[in-house]
Symmetry: D2
Subunit: 323 residues, 4 copies
Amino acid sequence: MRIGIVGLGRMGGNIARRLLAHDHQCVVFDANASAVEVLASEGAQGVDSLEGLVRALPAPRSIWLMLPAGEITQATIDVLSGLLEAGDTLIDGGNAYFKDDVRRGEALAEQGISYLDVGVSGGVWGLDRGFCMMIGGDREVFERHDPIFASLAPGEGQVEKTPAREERDPRVAQGYLYCGPVGSGHFVKMIHNGIEYGMMQAYAEGFDILRNRNQESLPANQRYDLDTADIAEVWRRGSVVSSWLLDLISISLAKDSDLESFSGKVSDSGEGRWTVDAAIEESVPADVLTASLYTRFRSRTDNTYGEKLLSAMRKEFGGHVEV
Amino acid sequence: MRIGIVGLGRMGGNIARRLLAHDHQCVVFDANASAVEVLASEGAQGVDSLEGLVRALPAPRSIWLMLPAGEITQATIDVLSGLLEAGDTLIDGGNAYFKDDVRRGEALAEQGISYLDVGVSGGVWGLDRGFCMMIGGDREVFERHDPIFASLAPGEGQVEKTPAREERDPRVAQGYLYCGPVGSGHFVKMIHNGIEYGMMQAYAEGFDILRNRNQESLPANQRYDLDTADIAEVWRRGSVVSSWLLDLISISLAKDSDLESFSGKVSDSGEGRWTVDAAIEESVPADVLTASLYTRFRSRTDNTYGEKLLSAMRKEFGGHVEV
Amino acid sequence: MRIGIVGLGRMGGNIARRLLAHDHQCVVFDANASAVEVLASEGAQGVDSLEGLVRALPAPRSIWLMLPAGEITQATIDVLSGLLEAGDTLIDGGNAYFKDDVRRGEALAEQGISYLDVGVSGGVWGLDRGFCMMIGGDREVFERHDPIFASLAPGEGQVEKTPAREERDPRVAQGYLYCGPVGSGHFVKMIHNGIEYGMMQAYAEGFDILRNRNQESLPANQRYDLDTADIAEVWRRGSVVSSWLLDLISISLAKDSDLESFSGKVSDSGEGRWTVDAAIEESVPADVLTASLYTRFRSRTDNTYGEKLLSAMRKEFGGHVEV
Amino acid sequence: MRIGIVGLGRMGGNIARRLLAHDHQCVVFDANASAVEVLASEGAQGVDSLEGLVRALPAPRSIWLMLPAGEITQATIDVLSGLLEAGDTLIDGGNAYFKDDVRRGEALAEQGISYLDVGVSGGVWGLDRGFCMMIGGDREVFERHDPIFASLAPGEGQVEKTPAREERDPRVAQGYLYCGPVGSGHFVKMIHNGIEYGMMQAYAEGFDILRNRNQESLPANQRYDLDTADIAEVWRRGSVVSSWLLDLISISLAKDSDLESFSGKVSDSGEGRWTVDAAIEESVPADVLTASLYTRFRSRTDNTYGEKLLSAMRKEFGGHVEV
């Protein structure tokens, strides 16, 4: 297929590359001209404006947006919606909030423009491994873009077949799923990230307890100098906690099991927060996913006002002095 | 009554003072001779050894231990159990682990020595306000020491009468309670402290959110410069969250609403940890009490190994650099 | 002062009564005519429509809304904003979301109508105890309504004076506080409720652990039949966890310490959820306040899909059968 | 090697089978004679008593215990320690508490009997996949039993090689690790299980939020009927949350995405509890691992006393009736 791609950062560039490698034609644009040049040198057709992008695509057009933040995505859609025609399709592969998708999808539908929201997982590994995709929008529009998704997806690979799935859509096991109406793709991706936070925190706490088992204050015969790099590696084979994240932990700890190059101040992105919102909207308890988010908040601050207030209370009732 | 008191620190000294003020005779001992002298100057009979203490008390003796840590309490009991006779009573008013009480009580019972475990709440305010006491041991031994407990307890005070308690032991509303067999006094006190942790943390989080409402990143019309000292004070009257802890918060914030004299590194004592143990033993979920404990752990460390591991994973899968 | 009151439910009716008792003139309206009649029989001037209410008040008018839900409040404001004039004031004493206040305040300001948002705590006890109030809006508008707030507030009462507050607004210690611009009153009340959730949950967990100490599976000498009613009562005097909520617990347990009349399915209102939103907006960890909310969610459902999924995993990897 | 195996349940039987398949000689015993018979028919030498087992093994003997509970393990070790000689080795492959290992190891050492504690992960899949093993004890004893561990371990398999591990013990990447002194094997396995709880709970919460996205109360255009079976499957390829547990979720949901055969009452075993103990011992916050444990507690009870107390408070302060 011929497709336009807007946004050639870490993710967007690799999406273009993987599509090129599967013999699709990509017309690419980025605010950063040198990013366009690089992709042009790899076989894409570079353009220097959104107008140029629209002109370079025959109707009905398909344009994939892969932009880092919500404001830029919205601004880009605002411009494109003035340039596109009924029958064209916008695909947002970024990490949009699903309620924004719903609003955008409804606004574009009034102009006859189709909208697909695609949650994309795989990070920097996607170029080689393929991208796992969760897709929302009209089913018919999804089907029309199947060649794109099929090329981007990882395929079955070495992963063992799941029994009892013979009567289901075989594309799911290729790594892409049509989830439902507009917004559902990003909703599923959002929960994916929420789970990711929880899994990461589970490993983090476990390895923290392992690492701290050499504390002086512990009884000598219950104190161990454990090798976290080896532990991560051994769990990769045959254990219940094996996972891709564990593979990455093992890679990282093999390089530096002290993790000295990291400050421990951990960012969070919108998905973790929106997951908590969704849980609350549905009255579903999400203790672990929320605690994972809060741990990241705490990691980025010094001692909090709340903690100081604890000391203040302790001083007042017990005369405990903590300075 | 005539009673021995061992340990004249912040709590033990005030217990002696309150008993003296209620016309009890106190024979007092502390490893620190000057602490003994001070109390002697206030009307107590000072002694310079545990042997002296036992000699100065007519049988059947009653000795109240008010020692800061479990090891010292155990060592003192070990010595005293060699000096005391059948019919004597040991009272531990410290913060012992209830399982240690059970063990000690059984060992002392073999010698005919009675044991009461008394959980004492009230902190440095107890001298004036009186001490709230939760008492475990044989009921008959408790009854025999009623004059001591009656004097230490706060009494009904200004606190409003609870309806439907007419047929219950009126001493409960004086501030002291016979809880049950050995260990139950400290068990109830332990849970008291667990609840205390949870309440303190609830206030801490709430005031933290209030305080942070002036963040630059918030929309200007949803950003407030709130006066936490005034908020604490206003809640003291008529609100659902009024409490003695809130009174203390108000006192503290009136002095310095920035809490600049506190580092925010918050200690925890055994009770919070033992409360979690008890919850797990009983398979009772205790999310809030446990989270309160963990917050204190976190307050005392720099960024954790676990947090660094989160950054390490983020770097591996997403190329995110957090240093 | 002469004031209109809309909404004569549990809270609104008592606000009218307390104002009448302090010699204010109340013009009252409720969709339920019999509620109007009752108040009229107690000295208020009843009206049968919002139009009638506005007619019965001389300009500049002040109207206090005390309505149960956001939709009704909004609908009422929509009608009233068509009837009121520049210089009039609307006061919302309900539990509105502070962001709705901001929006409403800005819309009304365009018409020259003032808006105060008043967070009111005190529940059904407010008629006698007085209401604790947190007030947002223009300071000048707040000052103009001071007589109303002074009458509704509890006053200093028996509560001990906080030191170091001599140079502060003495009205705070009467139980009402001007918090800041529109929205800040409900913001502070929202956090008040968030803290309330946390404190309630701290007590709930503690009493749960006390109650379950009689489990058969525990060692006989570490098993206690604790009297939770007496424990609540004894903690009211001299302990660190004394609070008004504890007073209520004691009242409730004295009537029925088994709590057999309760199912344990616990509602939550908007404030608990909005508190979590605010924490996330500010990147402030709120572990305890959030866990308290989730506990209520869980209390209202049977076993969750998530829990079934845990069993499903356990069956797959370990052959554990849980049906 | 020639090795004795005590305990032929789900795990022990498969361990014997896998050793037999790798040409080791197994002398097997179980309290259940028919379990012995089955293994005997598969090539093991069956015996009908621990005495028989010891007689059937030439010194220095190696006996692997694979028993379901701590009491039985202890009782068996008590008997065996009376039968074995200096130079023999006991291997405990069950899920013992590491502090019990330390105690046992020290007691056996006094008799000259060696002790290895082996944490074994892999569940019912171990026969085919191999068992992941974490091993504590003297390094020399571990080395002597290397042939056993090498046969039980999964081997490198299809799992991708981790870079930067060239200079490390290659056996780790085979799936078995010498962790350190006695107790460290079970300590690492305990943390493994703690992490497992956290990961399972992360998935459980995420799938719960997905499943509940079809609630009537949600806005129609933000409500989705999501297919959890397909979502699990699609995440297996290329996503960040792929794992062996997710493979199992996909298997389970493909069979019945409603999970109707499960009650949702979820058991927990000692490891989850001990992990919390270890975290507290080390003052390491473990919010997620602990919340995962508490969720299981809650899943097994009806509404708690604590929840009823919440309703009781709400009734007292707000007149809210929840029955």
